[in-house]
């Protein structure tokens, strides 16, 4: 009888909760969007007396047709919020004390102002979040600007920053080019370094439909993932050998004449240099470096050639490397070789992570740009000062007035230099102040919607947290930040509301902007992020500047006004047409959108694409439908067509960088052309198409800075793209590796390859910090730490996992942190399935986790999920959480063992290749 499945007693604290009957009051339906990944699945909530009592499938929704994964199907649990941080708290002499919001803002604000006085504004780090909606993200970046620092960043740095940099520098914008739905039309789906079956489950609905319609699915991954289980062809690759693999495929394409000659001639610059590099990657060398047999590489290349259009999907397996930016460019080049860009069923379908990481990136919650990818140049600041209607000189005066870096021989203000990245904030605390190119080290850290356990070098992070003067955590949950350190004092926890307790827009992976309705009032004493931003601005004395054109009701900046404000400034990536009114109208008419083309067929949104995917050009009056498929020249710009962007000049070394013999349908300029400026309009004789008002504003401006939108309107009227019509570039001459080349990871077990494929040399100043490459790779760790260690996701959890591990419906499904290890390695080390083991890394971190012995990983490779936290080097930290807030499931964070290593362009952290050893505990 004991064999019968009975409930586990020890989990009795997962309380039985009562269901509300339908008779207890009127039920209203609210539409929101799942907050757990970038697919952007629609959620329908049933609300009764302010309580979220039911969740229904949103079957009208174009992205998910009612479907969810485990996370989305459990979002109603947010309505219970048992484990939430319920009120502001402060740690005093090792104990958590409840305090009021007023006290919290006052105390934190006073300390920050004191730090600002003594160490400068750059000593406070504002770490924002992809969990913000667009309005909050925009307001947060503006807030950091008014505080006077570029030390502001968010998770995009550690998920797809290398994609954004690599892809934008190849053809204009750093984003997914097509959409999940468009994969229905793919004849080949090439997935590398991604496990969408777990990380983006509803995308599999679209991928499997593509497959059932005859598309071939190829999965390249070190692990036989759940995605691989659905592949037609699975290829196992050594972690960190992606570029050789891609070059190996292209080698066969060039060898067999499978490249799209015409496409390359018309629309690609620099392919000859790629040919020269690819020629080195003969099948033998590819096998030596990647471990993949020639037959597999050849078959993958042939399948892609024979099944066009094909799409390429990648995620963190590609991006999180020291060569991440090169990895992403190699994949872009693969698509350019095949001519798979700008077509339905093709493109680079880069699956972003968090629900609004695309939006938070677009709105510049990054240390290297203002909203809209304007960068940090003086022009950029002047543009935004005009949009904000504040004095440029006042903003400049908020910054540290000294200079620590030089640009072209003259000193530059920290206002124009990249801030420290989130991946390196710990070095901003721990590094010798002499070596940091700003006034002082970081003294206050604000983790606002961020999981520290998603970042590498755990023990050093602990030390950094302990060294800070002030640690502030703003989040719906205490997060691992509250417990992983041994601070006794001066830690503040401020309860933020989730996106179900507020409203506004978000941008899903495919650039579609969706509107969320508020489901319920903020739980307990939590506040929406924009209220909290406003409170800090009040404390610092710039609330009036911050909300000069934004109504504030009861301490809450009006979301719609924020949307309207960014509509006035986001010209560079086309966030100008998505007004609150248009987005809300789409929300009310979800059922009118075609589930493959995403185009509304009839109804009030007729002709628009769902979510007005950016670029949605011009002012809303222009009624641009948004751009479903980027770089599609077969339709006019006015209907969502676009060429590659002219971003890199018009000529280089005598070669034309503009498109040749290729233009978007209906273009009056039937050739390549540069980006539009007022002068260019005059030369073309189109200046008088502007109204008098537009002329007044547009004079001396360009398509990005003309606040009237006139330049964009006139360009599009003549069938042209405002940003020009150029070639994509296969070589990025400003990058450390203009042609993507293979470089061994810092912690590589293949010492035999280091001499031939070395990493970079150490750098003195990279995002304000010295950065090591060669000096680490020079040491051989592979004898003592023989196993390659890699990491990834589980379907039940998101990111650092605090929110999802606090949800009993999810937590019950994954109760133990584990490590996947091949049976051979397990037997060699005396490890048995289900037993505890110690995993030790070369930088001294160690975690105690459960062994999962499985052939899913090959011999010599181990895998750990990164969502766990709440244990530290063998110890359960449950008692360090404020009472009643410890997540149901806690476990070791794999990032305690993960090591140093940063991408050479964006400082993305390396989490996909390191070394470790495993022994029984």
């Amino acid at each position: 009888m004991s064999l019968l499945p009975t409930a586990m007693i020890n989990k009795a604290d997962a309380a039985q909760r009562r269901q509300h009957s339908y008779d207890e009051g009127e039920i209203t339906k609210k539409r929101s969007v799942c907050t757990h990944c970038s697919v952007g699945c629609g959620v329908v909530a049933e609300v009764q007396n302010g309580v979220w009592i039911g969740q229904e499938p949103s079957f009208d929704h174009p992205f998910n047709l009612g479907s969810h994964c485990a996370k989305g199907a459990s979002v109603r649990e947010h309505g219970h919020g048992d484990k939430r941080l319920k009120y502001p708290m402060k740690k005093v002499a090792g104990e958590w004390q409840r305090i009021s919001w007023d006290q919290a803002i006052d105390e934190i604000g006073d300390q920050m102002l004191a730090i600002r006085e003594s160490a400068g504004p750059d000593s406070v780090y504002w770490l924002g979040s992809a969990k913000f909606n667009n309005e909050q993200a925009y307001l947060f970046r503006k807030f950091a600007a008014f505080w006077g620092s570029n030390n502001v960043d968010h998770q995009a740095r550690i998920c797809h920053s290398t994609t954004v940099a690599g892809v934008a520098n190849t053809w204009g914008f750093g984003a997914m080019t097509n959409s999940y739905n468009d994969i229905h039309n793919s004849k080949c789906i090439f997935i590398i370094g991604a496990n969408p079956a777990e990380a983006h489950p509803v995308s599999l609905q679209h991928i499997l439909r593509g497959k059932e319609r005859g598309g071939k699915v190829i999965v390249v991954d070190p692990r036989f993932s759940r995605t691989a289980a659905h592949a037609d062809h699975y290829i196992r690759i050594r972690p960190g050998a992606d570029i050789p693999f891609v070059w190996g495929m292209i080698w066969h394409m060039f060898q067999n004449g499978w490249e799209d000659e015409q496409f390359i001639n018309q629309r690609v610059y620099g392919m000859d240099e790629i040919r020269a590099e690819v020629a080195k990657w003969t099948p033998d060398e590819v096998e030596r470096v990647t471990g993949v047999k020639e037959a597999d590489v050849f078959q993958a290349a042939k399948t892609m050639y024979e099944h066009k259009p094909g799409t390429v999907v990648w995620c963190m397996g590609i991006t999180q490397h020291t060569v991440g930016n090169s990895n992403t460019r190699a994949l872009c080049i693969l698509q350019l070789v095949l001519g798979n860009m700008g077509v339905s069923g093709g493109g680079t379908n880069i699956f972003r992570g968090h629900d609004n990481v695309q939006g938070a990136t677009d709105f510049g919650v990054t240390s290297n740009s203002l909203p809209g990818y304007y960068g940090l140049s003086q022009d950029a600041w002047e543009h935004w000062a005009r949009v904000w209607d504040v004095d440029y000189n006042w903003i400049a005066s908020q910054f540290d007035q000294a200079s620590y870096e030089e640009l072209n021989g003259s000193p530059v203000s920290p206002m124009f230099t990249n801030g420290i990245t989130v991946s390196r904030w710990i070095d901003g605390v721990l590094e010798d102040p002499e070596n940091i190119t700003q006034k002082d080290i970081l003294r206050a850290m604000v983790l606002w919607g961020h999981a520290p356990n998603s970042q590498t070098r755990g023990p050093e992070m602990k030390a950094a947290m302990e060294k800070l003067d002030l640690l502030v955590i703003v989040d719906p949950f205490p997060t691992v930040s509250a417990v992983m350190n041994d601070r006794q004092d001066n830690v503040y926890l401020l309860p933020a509301a989730t996106q179900f307790e507020t409203y506004g827009s978000l941008t899903s992976s495919n650039r579609s902007v969706q509107w969320r309705e508020q489901i319920m009032a903020p739980l307990f004493e939590s506040l929406p992020d924009h209220n909290i931003i406003y409170r800090f601005a009040e404390k610092f004395g710039f609330a009036d500047q911050l909300c000069k054109h934004i109504a504030v009701n009861d301490g809450e900046p009006l979301i719609e006004d924020i949307t309207r404000e960014y509509n006035r400034g986001m010209w560079a990536c086309g966030y100008t047409g998505q007004t609150p009114e248009r987005l809300k109208l789409q929300l009310a008419n979800l059922h009118t959108f075609n589930k493959t083309t995403l185009k509304a067929e009839g109804g009030p949104c007729d002709g628009e694409f769902y979510g007005l995917p950016w670029p949605c050009w011009g002012t809303a009056e222009m009624k641009h439908p948004g751009t479903h498929i980027l770089y599609d020249t077969s339709i006019p710009v006015a209907e969502g067509g676009s060429p590659f962007r002219a971003r890199f000049g018009v000529e280089r070394e005598g070669q034309n960088l503009l498109a040749e013999g290729s233009w978007t349908a209906g273009s009056e300029i039937e050739d390549g052309y540069p980006e539009f400026t007022s002068d260019m309009l005059k030369e073309l004789g189109w200046w008088n198409d502007l109204t008098a008002e537009e002329k007044a504003e547009a004079e001396g401006k360009n398509w990005k800075t003309d606040l009237s939108g006139g330049i964009q309107r006139v360009a599009i009227k003549h069938g042209c793209a405002p940003y020009g019509n150029a070639k994509a570039r296969a070589i990025v001459w400003q990058f450390p590796d203009p042609v993507p080349i293979h470089r061994e990871p810092l912690y590589t077990p293949r010492r035999d390859l280091v001499a031939e494929y070395p990493t970079y040399e150490d750098r003195r100043n990279f995002y304000r910090l010295p950065t090591r490459y060669g000096s680490i790779q020079a040491q051989d760790f592979s004898q003592e730490f023989p196993l390659i260690m890699t990491s990834g996701r589980l379907v039940e959890y998101e990111g650092g996992g605090e929110e999802t591990r606090s949800n009993p419906w999810l937590a019950e499904l994954q109760q133990d942190m584990f490590i996947e290890i091949n049976p051979a390695d397990a037997n060699n080390a005396g490890i048995r399935d289900g037993r505890q083991v110690w995993v030790e890394g070369p930088e001294g971190g160690a975690v105690k986790v459960m062994a999962m012995v499985t052939p899913r990983v090959e011999r010599g490779v181990v895998f750990m999920p990164f969502h766990f936290g709440g244990h530290y080097q063998g110890e359960d930290l449950k008692d360090k959480y404020p009472e009643g807030t410890a997540p149901y499931v806690r476990g070791e964070s794999c990032n305690v063992v993960f090591t140093y290593g940063y991408d050479s362009v964006t400082a993305m952290q390396e989490t996909k290749v390191s070394l470790c050893r495993v022994r029984p505990a």
């Binding site: 009975t6 009957s21 969810h68 485990a70 199907a73 319609r213 036989f224």
Partner: protein, 194 residues
């Protein structure tokens, strides 16, 4: 007359557990009780397949046949339900069930088992439709509202189908025709005789 059936398309199931959490969500099923679960074979090697399993609502249900207090009945829709008021939690139905569907919550200090709980095809139990009593004992009654089981309605890939057996079979057949291969109606031979 409609005859409700579940079908899980193993070619599409990605073991995402949406069906499992949707069920928890809709009925507030407590920790430790799983009306639905996902079973994976050949985990981690080529050929890996997953199937989502719950009570299949069998024809001439074996659970019904062994129940010493006769608490089971089959509705007009072919859904197998039971009356918790007379269930004694003896556990016989668990042994009789080919799918391991019945579950027993731990109750009381001495580990005595509580009343059996299982998938209701989102059709509640023998209390007035959507009354508080039905809600407390069996969860929501979606069929009475003209809706189908939430697990299938929320399945990430539309692998899990729930509805009248004939339309389920039709949809599945057309899918198999499109993609080729053998139609594998997992569990149907065991569960259904009609």
């Amino acid at each position: 007359m409609a005859r409700m059936k579940f079908l899980c398309d193993a070619e599409r199931c990605i073991e995402c557990n949406a069906c499992v959490t949707a069920c928890k969500n809709e009925h507030e099923v407590p920790w430790g009780i799983n009306r639905r679960r996902v079973v994976t074979i050949d985990d981690g090697i080529p050929g890996e397949k997953s199937i989502s399993v719950a009570c299949m609502h069998c024809t001439d249900a074996p659970c019904q046949a062994v129940c010493p207090v006769d608490c089971f009945y089959t509705t007009d829709d072919g859904v197998v339900l039971h009356d918790k008021d007379i269930c004694i939690g003896c556990g016989y139905c668990f042994y009789a069930c080919p799918f391991g569907a019945p579950q027993y919550p731990q109750e009381g200090a001495f580990g005595a088992r509580g009343k059996m709980d299982k998938c209701t095809f989102c059709a509640g139990g023998p209390e007035p439709d959507n009354s508080q009593a039905e809600l407390d004992k069996y969860g929501r009654n979606r069929l009475a509202e003209g809706k189908l089981p939430l697990c299938a309605e929320m399945c990430s890939t539309k692998a899990l189908l729930a509805g009248d057996g004939d339309i389920v079979a039709d949809l599945f057949r057309s899918r198999v025709v499109r993609r080729g291969g053998r139609p594998d109606t997992w569990g149907w031979n065991t569960a259904y005789k009609d």
